[in-house]
Symmetry: C2
Subunit: 507 residues, 2 copies
Amino acid sequence: MAATQATYDELLDSWRKATLLGSVQNQLGWDEQTYLPPGGAAHRADQMSLLAGMVHQQLTAPRLGELISALETGDKPAGSNGVFEANVREARRRYDRLTKLPTRLVEELTRVTSLAQQNWVEARKKSNFAMFQPWLEKIVALKREEAAALGGSKGNGVPYDVLLDEYEPGGKTADVAKIFAALREALVPLVRAIANAKKRPDSSILTRRYPKAAQAEFATAAAAAIGFSFQDGRLDVSPHPFCSGNGPGDCRLTTRYDEHHFPCAFFGVLHEAGHGLYEQGLDRKAFGTPIGDAASLGIHESQSRMWENFVGRSAAFWKHFYAQAQKTFPEALGPVSRDEFYGSVNSVEPSFIRVEADEVTYNLHIMIRFELEQQLISGKLQPADVPAAWNDQYTQSLGITPANDAEGCLQDIHWSGGGLGYFPTYALGNMYAAQLFVTARKDLGDLDAQFAKGEFMPLRDWLREHVHRLGRQYLPGRLIEKITGKPLSHEPLVAHLKAKFEPLYGL
Amino acid sequence: MAATQATYDELLDSWRKATLLGSVQNQLGWDEQTYLPPGGAAHRADQMSLLAGMVHQQLTAPRLGELISALETGDKPAGSNGVFEANVREARRRYDRLTKLPTRLVEELTRVTSLAQQNWVEARKKSNFAMFQPWLEKIVALKREEAAALGGSKGNGVPYDVLLDEYEPGGKTADVAKIFAALREALVPLVRAIANAKKRPDSSILTRRYPKAAQAEFATAAAAAIGFSFQDGRLDVSPHPFCSGNGPGDCRLTTRYDEHHFPCAFFGVLHEAGHGLYEQGLDRKAFGTPIGDAASLGIHESQSRMWENFVGRSAAFWKHFYAQAQKTFPEALGPVSRDEFYGSVNSVEPSFIRVEADEVTYNLHIMIRFELEQQLISGKLQPADVPAAWNDQYTQSLGITPANDAEGCLQDIHWSGGGLGYFPTYALGNMYAAQLFVTARKDLGDLDAQFAKGEFMPLRDWLREHVHRLGRQYLPGRLIEKITGKPLSHEPLVAHLKAKFEPLYGL
């Protein structure tokens, strides 16, 4: 037992050190997106590559493998409460992923995706898929190789499973496909009904003039109100909004301000603050251990989408905040009633760009990408055929056809960065959020009444207790089941969307 | 010869890697002073300590010592132009300093100075030297130990020499004492004459209202005009202004804005931009090699003081900039003539606080600290007696007596951080600047005429060519002699001050 403890301690110590070094990389990444002078890019790349190499070396040290094996086969310490097992499980997952990939493949992926991202920026600017096609071909080939190296092609292995598993541990392609199909079946008629509805909110309210400084002030106040700590974090500007959890007490959000588009910054900040609350709610004592991190990208997204949509776009939220909004933006909102405003922030309209999509159609964008990715990885779809397949899918699912590749298959950064398997986590996040929200409502009583009074701490603290502080102790599917008492289902999300949008559109 | 080249390459490669990692530490240090959320301080300390340990380990690796020794005793490569020798010399200096100090002493110094700095902040706030005294005692004892470990007490060794050498390589206490005495002899009568002068500029102009945003815009324009590249750098706000050269293409300045004190930000930015020009002018190809860095703190200070005082406080500079200043600050400067303004930014007045001192009295502040530091290190002065000795010196040199320790011996951060030996570099910097400026004027012709037309690139490029790009290739004393044809003298500074201040004060 003492031997187990010593082995365990050594594992955790090494892991903490590597994570601490990784958190430095994170900090430099944040700086790169916010304050790095343009001329410093090459030097920053050198710093990042040095750190990446060092972290990789530390996490693939043969000694770590020995420690993990010893812990897997040795006695379990008494009273571990599952933390010990979870740490060993997560250490194994990470160690295996890192050591199973040949160095040559890792280096080639790094090199190709770095070049591909630059190329994608150009290709998107010119709306020219042909420019990007050879890079997508290389990337798909490398990701198939990666899937094979990780065992996704052996026996009954599904190559896409192991790619998905990177972002959503334990996630299975077949399960995702099944739940997506069920969700789609409910969404398509809802989208159609909304499209044909007579009653329509006036979304032009949102494109009036909203001075940037006032937006920053208002969004900051809202983020603070939902419990994001600015003592332990900050909000800056970057071209692509993100949340960076740099370590205990240091979580940084970014946004961008568009003077003529209110939702961009405001809901963007609520979204990133939702991620930020997760980071700020992680158990500080577990920082640097294998389970010290968020459970998965899907669970992370559930937090951002919950605060953005379930809270931030609710009627109750605006009962509390609308007077302040009118005071902050008298020119734009002076003559607008609260109900009109609530309608406008919940406009539903099939559109081409995923990141601008509304709560109802968003998931259809995800399903299209999930479908195409599977076909790319299985070889059923050739990269050259992506634009046609993409446009077909949009026509079928959303009833609209992209006029060009920039508003079609070139819109997302993910593929150019090698992030195949990432997209499903967005829609999973929406479903996780809905299911968690039902349980929160059961546990906390009338959430709407609380929001209307500006009381957001009960929900934040409930999430902290049930989700945040646990880190990666449970696989995401198990975590949801543990909290809500049921496996993940599409039903809570569908119920939420119907309850909200049917009255809004007079259905 | 091939063997020498391989050894040399290995040394430079290792050095580059350690420097690159050190530059990450630098970046985190910048962030700590600018954007780090308060709650992230402990995590940041963990990151810094991890990186410091790794850099230290890399730079004290026995293999490095072997490489340096081999290069010292082996053949010199043909056509090294002195770069090879300088790299070996600087590697030896750094390696010896790092390896001669026992780990216990390094750790104790880190621990004590970290606590002492917190303590000093409190002691200064309360103007209570007794609170800080035990820490100063510990620090002086540790610095004496450090000096002994570095050989400063052996044979004819002067302990203060090895402390000075940390900041001003090759600097000797006796030489500094001699040149300071000569400078003092010229300064004291000048200060006295100015104090008794009938003609006095109106410095109250500078405490009118200068809106912060306008200050930022004006200072940024001035920094850009003297050649600081904002493509390769930036300007932010921090409580204590500094310049951080994070690596090629990434040099960051900070300042602070006081709405009712114009010089603070404006001359502060010119000062830091002077440092920044040095960093931006270093040879990029030499980055990470032992000579890739600035020559010394004194040479660094010569650059900042030259742009701040010799350029920024010159009549010619304001010939170019004053119209813009009046346009930027109409309320404060509308009714002020250029001559009045020029006088106001050159007010001379004995004062207690070094960082606010004018060009003439500044060096006397430095000499006081140099004197007291030597006595502390030699044991002639006990820390308990510092306040009395400090106040005596101010009375003698500047004719004013501090009313309390906050405006007396507690004003500077240096001692609490263990930086004994640092102060002399400030006054050396002023003398270096004056002597370099004389040569620049000889080489470049009528600098005043150039400044009056807003032409600052000739001077910047001259400094780049003669100072910046050389890095640490020459020891500072040798560098000055090489450029100006003479060893460092106090005379050019005295001549500059007399030529400028005698007419201003009607002497």
